[in-house]
Every structure is written in structure tokens, then in C-alpha cells.
Symmetry: C2
Subunit: 209 residues, 2 copies
């Protein structure tokens, strides 16, 4: 039997960037998991039975413990990962740098989600244009800041980090939900990182759609 | 001179629960900071000059580096804190437990913010009642889950943790912005924790209003 002793369950669809970054990370770290592909909107009742807070991702451990919030789930996975498999360095300047790049990518992601929620999850007449505009500016401010960061060491052969994963997942999601805001070539350095990462098996096996 | 060598700047108002939990943590850990009390709404232009992403809290280090996202700022502070001053254990089961309690409190906080944004930051006719109801349910689900956790060890004399701080800040904020949702006695165990923590100097010196 090659099955892992610890069949963790990952609840949530990969069209959530928060679920996708956890799934990609687990594949890169070699953690097996069962994917429970329920939607927080379309499968709300079924979801609520497993996941009373209706928040994804949720990671169910083999002891039944239910972990929420992707950054804390990733922190746990790094804590139990085998040597050399951490995606965020354990401490110091490198940790701060990786987490701050994640922070910026997560703001880009959050703003993309907020725009989507305001424009798609309510009747058109309930959309508030000034709020959407504010979020669009903050979204592009975040992607613009990601674009000005030094090129990721992963492009020169260094191990992949959570900053690479979260930035790549953020761009894929934002392009998918707001294609008009992200014409090809608008964030060229980030697109280069993204093309590299999306070519890795862990990303290919975790398609967003 | 008693001034610290590292005059960190904390940007944002304490009416943001995310800013307040960082400020309380810094006081408990003995980090001096200069408080830059600007609002992301009322002082938007001034804020943008210091803080291009207009996200609070932002912690400006003495080298000019600007850190964002309260959970990552707190992670950094724990990383540089003196021995015994960590607010989240460094690893293992205790770390997971504290971070998961934070995660639940942060969902309660996030939902309280989303309700506020939908009902106050846009014209009344743009409020979408089904969305507000969904958020209210999730908010109470989170507070209800916090209420069912074992009583915090801090009430029996153990050192305070980030779970205590974040839960207390979450309740204070939610009660302040949605008083009708939180009549006295509705979450008695959480209120007991809150009364204890709000009586500590670090909380008293960081008033929400």
C-alpha cells in the first residue's frame, strides 16, 4: 500500500485562490489529501454540515480537527513538513520577505474577490461603483507593487517559496475573474514568474477552473 | 534617554481591530512605537503618501521597510521578541491551537467589517440584504464557535496569548459597530475573557474609540 497514513481532507474548489494555494503547496510538499470539491455558494447546505463556518479552504486533519484560514493552514503544513520542504523560511529576514510578498499578493487577491462580490453576487442595481473603483485601484496598486519586486530567485533555480505560489495564484485568479483589467503584458515580470510556476506539475494538477 | 533605538511606526486607527491587535501586542511585548493615527477613509490622500496600498495596520521598521497584514506583522514581532514574550508559540500543537482560535476570531471580525461596509459605506439603496444576512450568520457562527472553546488559560494565570488578544479585540469591535447583535450576556464566556483582558494596561492604553 502506498496510501498515506494521514488522509487529510481539503475542502473547497480550486477556483478559490485561497484553496488553490493550499492545494499547490500540499502537492509541492508531498502531502497527500482527499479533495472535497464543494462550493460555498452552490453547495451551501452540504458544505455547512462539514464546515459550519462555510469558509474555504478548510483542512480536516486525521484526528478530525478542522483548520481554517489559508495562511494558518500553510503555517501548520510548514511546521510538519519534512526537512527542506518548508515554503516559508522558519525565521529571520527571509521569512519576513516571503511573508510580505504573500501579503501583497493576498491584497491583490482580496480586492479581486471584493470586486467580484460587488459586481456578480448581487443584483446589478446594488453594485456601488465608487467602492468597485476603490477596490480596482487597490488591486492594481498591489499587482503594481508585486511587479516592482526583484525577480524571484525561483527563476534562477532556487527552491520555490510561498511568495512564488501565492503571487502566481493571485495573478491567475485576477486574470480569470477580471480579464479586461489584465491584458497580456500588463505585468510582464509577474507573468514570467507565473508562466514558470504554472508549468510545474503541482500547478498543472491543480487547475483553477 | 529612555527612547528605544528602533522607533517603529504603527499606521492606522485603533477603531480598526487589526490595528488594535497589533498595538496591544506591541505594548505587551515591550516594543515602543510611534502611532500614526490616520484613517484609510477620512485621511486617504495623506495615508496614500505614507502607505501606497492604503491598508492598515502598516508597521514601518527603522530601516524604512513597510510591513502589512496584521497576522504577518504579529509573526514578525514574535520572531524578534525577547525570550518569553512570544504571543504565539513557536511550533507544534500549541501554535496550531492559538492560530486556529485567532482564525475563528478573525472571521468574526471580517464578517463584522463586511456588514459595516455594506450598510454604512454605501448609499442605503445599495445595501444587499441577503448578503448582509449571510455575513451576520457567519459572524455569529464564528462568535458561537469561540464561545464553545475551552476557557482560556489566561483566566487561570497563564501568560496571555494572541488568541486572547484577537478574541477580545474581535468582541469589542463587533459590539461597538453592531451593538444590537451583541446584547450583554450573549457570549458569556467570551465576555469573561474580554473583561479580564480589557482590564490589562496594554488594552486600556489602546482604546478602540
Amino acid at each position: 500500500m502506498n496510501e498515506r497514513k494521514i488522509p487529510m481532507q481539503l475542502i473547497g474548489l480550486f477556483d478559490s485562490p485561497y484553496v488553490r494555494r493550499v492545494a499547490v503547496s500540499m502537492r509541492l510538499q508531498g502531502f497527500g489529501f482527499e479533495h472535497v470539491a464543494l462550493s460555498v455558494f452552490r453547495n451551501q447546505d452540504e458544505m455547512r454540515k462539514l464546515n459550519p463556518l462555510v469558509k474555504v479552504p478548510m483542512l480536516v486533519l486525521d484526528n478530525g480537527e478542522k483548520l481554517i484560514e489559508s495562511s494558518f493552514i500553510l503555517d501548520y503544513l510548514d511546521d510538519i513538513a519534512s526537512a527542506g520542504k518548508r515554503l516559508v523560511p522558519a525565521s529571520g529576514e527571509e521569512r519576513r520577505r516571503v511573508l510580505q510578498q504573500c501579503a501583497i499578493a493576498l491584497i491583490g487577491t482580496e480586492k479581486a474577490v471584493q470586486i467580484l462580490y460587488d459586481t456578480k453576487l448581487r443584483p446589478a442595481e446594488k453594485t456601488h461603483a465608487p467602492w468597485v473603483e476603490r477596490c480596482k485601484q487597490q488591486m492594481h496598486d498591489a499587482f503594481g507593487l508585486m511587479e516592482t519586486q526583484p525577480a524571484s530567485p525561483v527563476l534562477s533555480g532556487a527552491p520555490i517559496t510561498q511568495a512564488d505560489i501565492t503571487s502566481t495564484v493571485a495573478l491567475a485568479f485576477a486574470k480569470y475573474v477580471h480579464p479586461a483589467e489584465f491584458p497580456a503584458g500588463c505585468y510582464p515580470r509577474l507573468e514570467q514568474l507565473s508562466a514558470f510556476c504554472e508549468g510545474l506539475p503541482a500547478f498543472i494538477e491543480t487547475p483553477m477552473e
